[in-house]
Symmetry: C2
Subunit: 433 residues, 2 copies
């Protein structure tokens, strides 16, 4: 099926700011609370949110096989389950309805009042119920930096790294959308030179610049997914900040891996940009040497040229860009990650999320974590207001942005922005469950 | 509230086999498919399954605040969300209805036909939708055995082990109920002495004798759970076989922990036995030295005396008991595990599952895995038919059983039984998703 929605020359009747991440070629999917306090599935063009539930009720998806309530849901899981063909039909239809030359909705004020919302009127939710979340460790530069710092600069990469997309299972329950503040976690750590561990607030809170992909139902229990088929099971991508407590991690992670150092919070951008929308920005990934096993071997363009940027905003509101990286630096592709994940027959469901791992580029200004940017605290970063950071301080906000640009066309993810609050105070911060 | 259901002298009018795991004092919760192909929530007395959805519709829970459809669901998650007080009211009421002296249902043939099923007529399902699954590593004997084999017998326990209940996030999507067969997984391994990894069927498939507990909604994001309150958030326990591919694990697990070596399958017993039902079998856990941090310190009886047994059934059907252990050997209690898990504010939801880790006892016949029982293949186990095992072979079935016994009263979990099939064959084993 042709992806008509990707036509770069298409223009829309929705007013769109210049350089928006959300031109009519994007058509991402998200879930939001409307001004009427109704949860719905929607898309976005420019700064206009579009209620797909309302569009469906008003007949704009007639002819596409969709259940009546497919967009009137808290999550995208069921829509994602409908599969790639349905996603394409829906994106193509949205593209038609909002095409500059199509007057049907454009000239129907009544329908527009029901379907269109200003971004300021809505509240974005987590777009999917994430059944399982896996995080990979697929940037060679990041793995090399970490190995250099903590192990042996001469043998920075562990023996398995070039053979398998190393990954681990993460915690789904603490994945939150952009805008939700988090608390500095308490935990056990072993201070340098101490003989006994201590318990208290983590002192080394870090962000991790990542992206993540969302899958559809891909297989039955026991059935591997071939690397050639893997991309068909990927719905789309989001920006991902995998918050980390480095001091907790160092003490707890042997031998079973990171646990509480990661599970206090992980934040994602709320609009899922489909793999289809990203197709014009495909590129080759880095050369893989040694050659991967056949079950991981895949020729062609399976990476994406996505510019990434991290801003740190001080408690006083002063932003500084502290890193610029790109998704294309990833050594292992998403197709390879998903194929590897299912070699053992692991079942993958609609709404599962798989993180890339920290995306560090080749130069020090493209590193994807404070750990690397400030090189274990030995090279503090100077911010625009003159203050320094080795790690993230209370009331700092970390913002990750991402966009693609090619031949004058731009398309992006918006941002994931998360403020770090001080340690949870049971008197002040207690919420009803 | 008094737990009337636990009265050891109570007798039931339901015929119950001698030595059943399911006397009227148990009243576990599960989900099953009835002979009419309807999914319902139920309990079990002896070999009789009881449809709680039908009981509720017929008014047997009148006076207890329950929504109409609370038992007419695919999973127990919503019922578990209702909280401890509701669980107790429901168990007490079931105990009353099936009490020897109560004729209301006993003498109503019409209602009995609707509510009662022979176990052979029903098909047990996964009892909860598991949002997140965590596995701990809390048996000191197991951790010591593994450390002795793979690291240094003089320093078998890693430095953090006596200070924190070490654990890691696992894969929820491949947790299956007893009776579902699994396939031997494919994967990458690094054979001893080889210079390059190989890809093929895992050669070292192992079971792990574990138990797991199921939680209710426990906290909001950011909010720790006090160790004193932790047990109030535990609904109940199941038997748990955490299948493991030792050769895949050895190659992949550094530095982020076990991944595909575990996520091919994990099986649980289908009836959740409530913590309330287990109360008469409470006991102290092992002495903890050094003294745990205050956030983990808890005096009193917070372990449970649960006899555990592992049977291996050969492809020809000959069973051999290969291990006898006990849950009381666990060094870290469930309360400590849950308190530790939430020190960082990690959100815990209804239906989350937390595994104990392999439960090995002090003697070689009480070890909880083939790795330990056959000591890395150096001491093969001889089965009743004379054949030997170092690990699990194709078409072997592993059965874990568990029960409590005190003062002549017995109560148990039934079993979790899982057959290991050969590697998935895409022509033969392909199922529709």
């Amino acid at each position: 099926m042709e992806i008509l929605a990707n036509n770069p020359d298409k223009k829309t009747w929705i007013p769109t700011p210049e350089n928006t991440d959300f031109p009519i070629q994007n058509i991402p999917f998200g879930v939001f609370l409307t001004r009427d306090d109704i949860i719905t599935i929607g898309t976005r063009i420019g700064d206009t949110a579009i209620d797909l539930g309302a569009m469906h009720q008003l007949g704009y998806f007639d002819g596409i096989p969709l259940t009546d309530d497919i967009f009137l849901q808290d999550t995208l899981n069921d829509f994602i389950s409908d599969g790639q063909k349905t996603w394409r039909l829906v994106r193509n239809r949205i593209s038609e309805v909002f095409d500059m030359g199509n007057g049907t909705l454009k000239n129907n004020e009544n329908h527009k009042n029901i379907i269109l919302f200003d971004l300021k009127e809505i509240e974005m939710q987590l777009p999917v119920q994430i059944g399982d979340y896996t995080d990979f460790y697929s940037s060679k530069e990041h793995a090399t930096n970490v190995g250099t710092m903590f192990r042996d600069p001469e043998n920075a990469l562990l023996p398995n790294w070039l053979h398998i997309p190393v990954g681990y299972h993460g915690r789904s329950s603490t994945i939150i959308p952009s805008g939700i503040p988090i608390h500095r976690p308490m935990g056990q750590t072993m201070p340098k030179g101490a003989e006994k561990p201590v318990f208290g607030p983590s002192r080394l809170i870090d962000f991790e610049l990542e992206m993540a992909f969302i899958t559809t139902d891909a297989n039955s229990l026991g059935e591997p997914i071939a690397v050639e088929d893997a991309e068909d099971h990927i719905f789309g991508m989001v920006l991902f900040n995998d918050w980390s407590a480095r001091d907790i991690q160092k003490w707890e992670y042997v031998p079973l891996g990171p646990f509480l150092a990661k599970s206090f919070a992980s934040s994602i951008s709320p609009w899922i940009v489909t793999l289809d929308a990203l197709a014009p920005f495909r590129c080759k990934g880095p050369k893989q040497e040694p050659k991967p096993f056949p079950y991981l071997a895949l020729e062609g363009e399976h990476s994406f040229d996505i510019n990434l940027e991290v801003d740190l905003i001080t408690p006083e509101g002063i932003p500084t860009t502290i890193s610029k990286s790109n998704f294309k630096y990833m050594y292992w592709s998403m197709a390879q990650q998903l194929a590897h994940h299912t070699t053992n027959g692991c079942k993958v469901n609609s709404g599962d999320m798989m993180g890339s791992g920290t995306i560090s580029g080749p130069t020090p200004d493209s590193y994807g974590s404070m750990l690397e940017l400030a090189w274990q605290g030995t090279k503090p970063i100077t911010l625009k207001d003159g203050s320094e950071r080795k790690f993230i301080q209370d009331n700092d906000t970390v913002v990750i942005k991402g966009f693609c640009e090619r031949n004058g066309h731009r398309l992006g993810f918006g941002e994931v922005s998360t403020k770090l609050l001080p340690v949870f105070n049971s008197k002040k911060d207690k919420k009803s469950i």
